[in-house]
């Protein structure tokens, strides 16, 4: 009885989660430029449109560039900080950990507006690189969390052994610490990358009028009616996210990254 209830419950939740994507996937393969479901005809031309139409291609390029750079900057901020907190006893330094988590905890419109007032005040409003910095600060939480988790899982006696053998700080970091936390760096980067790819309001408030990322492009296009290209972009994005998280799960320990204690998922 209970397993039947569980199956039905999981099926309904799965349906709820999948239904919009199924309909959008259907719309994305429509042959004509209509928003119809079930799809009429079959064509992958709307997927081609993302790469062939210069407007959609530029938006895709802008989104990917922004995500690649801002995730890298987020990791560059998170790595030395979490290393320092793991290596040193400096309780006051925890305040920076807190500052790194804060932008992500508050409603995004607040970070976005803070960035807007700041860039406008210092005179850089609308510069493409301001979006990179804004996204890096907004998403620094993700590498911070995965890296702190990574550092706590390092066995300190390993580092102790290297130290006794005469390795200096730099060598220890390069040969012992870095290989051990590399999976956490990669997953922190992956999380920040995927979320940055999809982020709307911070990008809109910082460079919305000069750089059009894909979410901004979709929102602007929505005002003039629907085109199946939006549907194909949606499917492209959700597939990209699923592939990246799938890879994180394949090569890392996803349940542990998300808070389970040990690797058996209990």
């Amino acid at each position: 009885m209970i397993s039947m209830f569980r199956r039905a419950y999981f099926f309904l939740i799965g349906l709820f989660l999948a239904l919009p994507l199924i309909v959008v996937a259907g719309v994305s393969v429509n042959e004509k430029q209509t928003l119809a479901f079930p799809p009429q005809g079959f064509s992958l031309s709307w997927y081609g449109e993302i790469f062939l139409n210069p407007e959609w291609r530029n938006a895709l390029f802008a989104s990917v560039t922004l995500a690649v750079l801002s995730a890298a900057l987020a990791v560059a901020i998170a790595l030395p900080l979490s290393w320092f907190l793991w290596r040193r006893i400096a309780p006051w330094a925890n305040i920076f950990q807190l500052l790194g988590v804060a932008p992500f905890t508050l409603p995004p419109v607040i970070t976005a507006l803070g960035m807007l007032t700041f860039w406008a005040t210092v005179g850089f409003y609308g510069q493409p690189w301001t979006a990179v910095v804004s996204h890096a600060i907004f998403f620094v939480t993700l590498p911070l969390v995965t890296l702190s988790l990574g550092f706590t899982s390092i066995d300190r006696s390993l580092v102790e052994a290297a130290s006794t053998m005469g390795a200096d700080e730099r060598t220890i970091f390069r040969t012992v610490v870095l290989p051990l936390i590399l999976p956490y760096i990669v997953s922190g980067y992956a999380f920040a990358f995927v979320l940055s790819l999809n982020e709307y309001i911070v990008a809109y408030m910082t460079v919305g009028f000069t750089v059009e990322t894909l979410p901004i492009k979709i929102f602007n296009a929505l005002r003039y009616g629907y085109t199946p290209t939006m549907a194909s972009v949606t499917i492209l994005f959700v597939t990209t996210a699923a592939v990246i998280f799938g890879l994180v799960a394949r090569f890392g320990d996803l349940p542990k990254l998300l808070g389970a204690m040990s690797s058996d998922g209990k």
Binding site: F10, I13, L17, L19, P20, L21, V23, G26, V27, L35, I77, P80, W83, W86, R88, A90, F96, G100, P103, T105, P108, V109, T111, A112, L113, G114, M115, L116, T117, F118, T121, V133, S134, A136, I137, R156, E160, I172, L197, N198, E199, Y200, M205, I216, I218, L222, A231, T234, F237, V238, A241, A242, A249, L254, P255, L258, A260, M261, G265, K266
Partner: protein, 284 residues
């Protein structure tokens, strides 16, 4: 290697870059926003440094009070719906095989990372007359004629629950995965049905987690900005929408900043409440 306090100035070097970045690009912008909220607005979209409370006073009108009330009510409804749906789901998920868990977690993360624009677009398609869910119902002979289900409050609520559900599961996951399985086993041995064990053992044991999750989802939902615009009518717009509207289209930065500061205060107040509730729960 044991942790040591920094001894030389050089030991602080790794902290330099992160500390500078977070201070310059988070603390300073946040401070700027607070300062601007007290500035005097000039005609034509400019503002001059001042120390006035006009922007906050204006916020205390019936109209903005209504918007704030609606935003809070919407966020509370979303939080309750999500926790009610996600608690049994997450509990059962943590009891499943690891492989199954990973598949669900990947799916949930993928949906969580979807842009609000995309979620809004997907649901507006699903609720539309031409490509929507009503077409499926017509095909099944349940409904006579396809119709549009958006814009409406129900559409906004559905979209927001969809957006917040993966987040809720991921917030609940660590606590539920670490829940001592012997608790329910004991209840089962004593003759409780699985359902009864869930409600009399699991739910009370997780009281603090549930409260904390409710508040976190509430804050998450409070940040929703595009879904009310894409799926609702103007009366369904939230504070986030108004803040952006004032900042970008009305060029009234001081007023937008005042509303944002107010939103921060509400959020922080709720976080403080969670901490207090958590402490009380521990003491009891």
């Amino acid at each position: 290697m044991r942790r040591e306090p920094p001894q030389t100035l050089g030991d602080y070097a790794p902290l330099l870059f992160p500390a500078a970045m977070l201070t310059i690009f988070f603390v300073v912008p946040f401070g700027t926003m607070i300062a601007v909220s007290f500035f005097q607005r000039q005609q034509g979209g400019f503002y001059t440094p001042a120390f006035v409370f006009d922007n906050y006073a204006r916020f205390l009108s019936v109209f903005f009070g209504g918007v704030l009330g609606f935003s809070l009510l919407l966020a509370i409804t979303v939080a309750i719906c999500c926790v009610v749906l996600a608690l049994p789901f997450t509990y059962m998920l943590t009891r499943m095989a690891r492989k199954v868990q990973v598949v669900w977690l990947v799916a949930l993360l993928s949906i969580l990372s979807l842009s609000e624009v995309i979620i809004g677009f997907a649901w507006s398609t699903l609720f539309s007359r031409t490509a929507g869910i009503t077409n499926i119902l017509v095909a099944l002979d349940i409904m006579a004629e396809a119709k549009a289900l958006t814009p409406s409050f129900g559409a906004v609520l559905t979209g927001m629950v969809y957006q917040a559900f993966p987040y809720t599961v991921l917030v609940l996951f660590p606590a539920l995965v670490r829940l001592d399985p012997t608790l329910t086993e004991a209840a089962r041995t004593l003759g409780a049905s699985p359902l009864k064990a869930f409600f009399t053992v699991v739910v009370p044991a997780l009281r603090n987690t549930i409260t904390a999750t409710l508040i976190m989802v509430f804050i998450f939902a409070l940040g929703s900005y595009l879904l009310p615009q894409l799926l609702g009518r103007p009366q369904h717009w939230t504070l986030s929408v108004l803040i952006t509207d004032q900042a970008i289209y009305q060029s009234n930065m001081p007023f937008a900043a005042a509303m944002a500061v107010f939103l921060v205060l509400v959020t922080l107040g709720l976080v403080a409440l969670t901490v207090i509730a958590g402490r009380k729960g521990e003491a009891a």
